[in-house]
């Protein structure tokens, strides 16, 4: 089945736009990373994978190809499915929980370790926490999100080498902005939701 030109243009737009984010941000971060650093190697891998996905989109959804034989959606699905499945599973799980009406709170902002001693779950870092929250917001659950950090040890204070009480405002909010959270969403998570949920009268 061949899509009409408007649908094809829309599909190309929807697939190329997030790749613009992947490629643009990775190129920008590569400018800051030293050429031989471990970070640079990982960023280059992200960039290369983004380029490879773009090539798949270009080839499978080229107007000439679509005109000749229809879009190669199977190839696109195969190329995108693994990373999208991993992200989708996590978002779906949280989404089903939020659908029940409960509020979800992400604690431990500032804990960047991927391993937490004796934990039964894999410990997320701040970026993964925000990615999960982004998924919930996209599913219409903005008003059910709270975040916090846990300053329960002396070692979590700045003077003892920890992230400190200012971490969310100093580091997480800029990270939210870099990751596309709007000011309205940040206001909801940091001010409106806690005020509504935690005010006791």
């Amino acid at each position: 089945m061949k899509p009409d030109p408007a649908s094809l243009a829309h599909l190309r737009h929807e697939l190329r736009t997030p790749l613009n984010h992947v490629l643009g941000y990775s190129e920008m971060l590569l400018e800051d990373a030293g050429d031989a650093s471990a970070l640079a190697l990982e960023l280059q891998q992200v960039h290369d994978e983004g380029r490879a996905l773009l090539a798949v989109v270009e080839e499978s959804l080229s107007p000439a190809r679509v005109e000749a034989s229809g879009p190669d959606l199977g190839r696109i699905a195969a190329a995108l499915s693994a990373p999208l499945d991993r992200l989708g599973e996590a978002v779906d799980r949280l989404g089903r929980l939020a659908d029940t009406g409960c509020v979800l709170e992400w604690d431990l902002f500032g804990q960047e370790a991927s391993y937490y001693r004796l934990a039964d779950i894999d410990m997320p870092n701040d970026a993964i926490r925000l990615r999960a929250i982004r998924g919930l917001i996209d599913h219409g659950h903005l008003e059910q999100v709270l975040i916090s950090h846990d300053i329960c040890y002396r070692s979590r204070l700045v003077r003892w080498g920890g992230h400190g009480y200012g971490h969310i405002f100093a580091n997480v909010v800029p990270l939210m902005r870099r990751r596309g959270f709007s000011e309205r969403e940040i206001q909801a998570i940091l001010v409106d939701n806690p005020r509504r949920l935690l005010t006791i009268v």
Binding site: A9, R16, N20, L23, G24, G180
Partner: protein, 121 residues
């Protein structure tokens, strides 16, 4: 370096593009829809406009037509940007009055070359 009006409705595109242009020394003004772009072009008189064509309120095609039809903004160079990247988009953009055209994902060096060419012509 130039004052560039970046017209883009996608938050992440706007953030990323504005930061990359600022790193190259440009001053970046931002608008998120076509109507806001027209108003800012009139009030701020930027040196150049980067205009996404898929915009809310007034789309980029109509915004380009109005900008090029207005005495106050017709001389401001416009580079049309689109992620559709369909055959004919370039010709359509130039016919609308845009001065150049590029596709997203952006290749920054190529885009900077086009900006430079338009600012020095």
């Amino acid at each position: 370096m130039a004052r560039i009006l970046l017209v883009e409705d996608n938050d992440m595109n706007r953030d990323m593009m504005s930061r990359r242009l600022q790193r190259k020394g440009h001053e970046v003004l931002m608008a998120a829809d076509g109507m806001q772009a027209i108003l800012m072009a009139e009030s701020e008189a930027p040196d150049l406009i980067l205009l996404d064509m898929s915009l809310p309120v007034i789309d980029g095609w109509e915004a380009a037509r109005r900008l090029k039809g207005s005495e106050r903004t017709r001389t401001i160079p416009i580079i049309a940007l689109t992620a559709h990247a369909m055959a004919g988009d370039r010709e359509k953009a130039l016919a609308t009055g845009c001065d150049d055209f590029d596709t997203k994902p952006i290749e920054l060096e190529r885009l900077l070359g086009k900006i430079e060419a338009l600012l020095t012509r």
